[in-house]
Symmetry: C2
Subunit: 262 residues, 2 copies
């Protein structure tokens, strides 16, 4: 079998194994907590609906109201600062979902906006990431030279610097969110990580309390810069770590063609 096919098949097997193992571990870690949470929620609900004698129909209305009113705590989600925040979550594919378009026009525009915006964002972040790496390599070469060492900068040196920077950005972001949002430090770190990997669960989302979108402009600016700068650093690391693997098949394909011609 061709090397490219073997590689692709091995990757599929690895990924499925990884998914199976992950599912088993999450099952073991989270299932007990889910059961007890479920029991607690059911008990509290029964107690409250009994206390106030809320009808089933009204409970469903209440459910709808409460779900819809959660985004309102942030202030106006679609005034400029909120809409700008939303656009960033679209083109970076973070997609917290803390606020999503509700009108048909909004949803349609969102799809076209993502279609052009995601490739644009991807190319921009990779481009800045590559520039950062080149800049770091330049600085490292000079520093090594000054200390009288071999001034050659290895790929490993760059990976170390990018990972170090990434961790520092996450840690400092986490610290600020911990102070302003009142989350526990561990949860802030989890938020920073889930954001900068562009997973964006939306279980923790910055700027969603006390009308922060309108009342705390400096914090809005900080949060947006955190995401944009953080993603740049992550892109620099991905540029070093992953990009060459992405083009492996294509390169093998080209080599095969050249060999076939000879």
């Amino acid at each position: 079998m061709k090397r490219q096919n073997v590689r692709t098949l091995s990757l599929i097997v690895c990924t499925f194994t990884y998914l199976l193992v992950g599912a088993a571990v999450f099952d073991a870690l989270e299932s007990d907590n889910e059961m007890s949470q479920r029991a607690l929620v059911d008990k509290l609900r029964a107690r409250l609906t009994d206390k106030y004698n809320i009808s089933d129909r009204d409970y469903r209305v209440l459910e709808a109201i409460i779900v819809k009113s959660i985004p309102h705590k942030a202030g106006y989600q679609w005034k400029f600062s909120g809409a700008f925040y939303f656009c960033i979550t679209v083109i970076t594919t973070i997609g917290y979902g803390h606020s999503t378009p509700m009108t048909v026009g909004g949803k349609t525009f969102c799809m076209f906006y993502a279609l052009a915006g995601i490739p644009l964002g991807l190319v921009m972040f990779q481009s800045i990431g590559e520039r950062l790496n080149t800049f770091v390599a330049f600085i490292l070469r000079h520093v090594k030279h000054c200390f009288g060492k071999n001034p050659e900068v290895t790929h490993m040196n760059l990976i170390m610097v990018a990972s170090g920077c990434g961790m520092m950005v996450m840690a400092s972001g986490a610290f600020v969110f911990h102070r302003i949002e009142g989350w526990e430090l561990f949860d802030s770190l989890y938020y920073a990580f889930i954001s900068l990997t562009t997973i964006g669960f939306g279980d923790f989302v910055a700027l969603q309390k006390d009308g922060a979108l309108q009342t705390q402009p400096q914090y809005v600016v900080f949060s947006l810069i955190f995401i944009l700068f953080g993603l740049t650093v992550v892109s620099a690391a991905m540029n070093l770590l992953v990009l060459r693997f992405l083009t492996m098949n294509t390169e093998d394909e080209r080599r095969d063609e050249v060999e076939a011609r000879m």
Copy 2:
């Protein structure tokens, strides 16, 4: 200025302009609806809390209960099928957030899981995408040859096929979700699009009704295959459209080095 720096700066300017324009359009499209939704929600809430005379403290408890109980409608989120679904949303970076780890152990494992899983998933999808493109090129060459045309397959041919396949996968997925979830066809299409771009807002999430995770195994399998196969087709398209832009700076950098040596 060096060509790589000019390119990166232009990309930054383009992206920020794109974000500003997007924010303005979303503001125009969504703000009115947000205002009227807000007013409606506030009115309904006042009516219900008055009717049942619910205290502020109890209302906050009710709020917490309702928010926590929404994931329970899907069945058990952390039994194997649910946990497997969750793992897929992590390594693809879709991250719907329909269910997220609640324990410190679960969150910690989730971070390490994503750290290795995202690069693995990315490389796998790109690898399959490239194989798909090669396969399509092979078929196209033979088809063209049979019809007595010039058998050369252009990059544009492949882009057309990949985009066509992507649209077909989205449309057929949307149709099934429309039938099973009872969403409007437009909303199903929006769900398929937001999922396959890995934005994953989580405003619409498959398998979240009537205990589907445990009671509808065939639908579970369909939903997971839709995501995995859909992402493969999207990766094939991205492989053709974006990959060469991602390596532009690096290639220019190499050429500069070679020129400097001469």
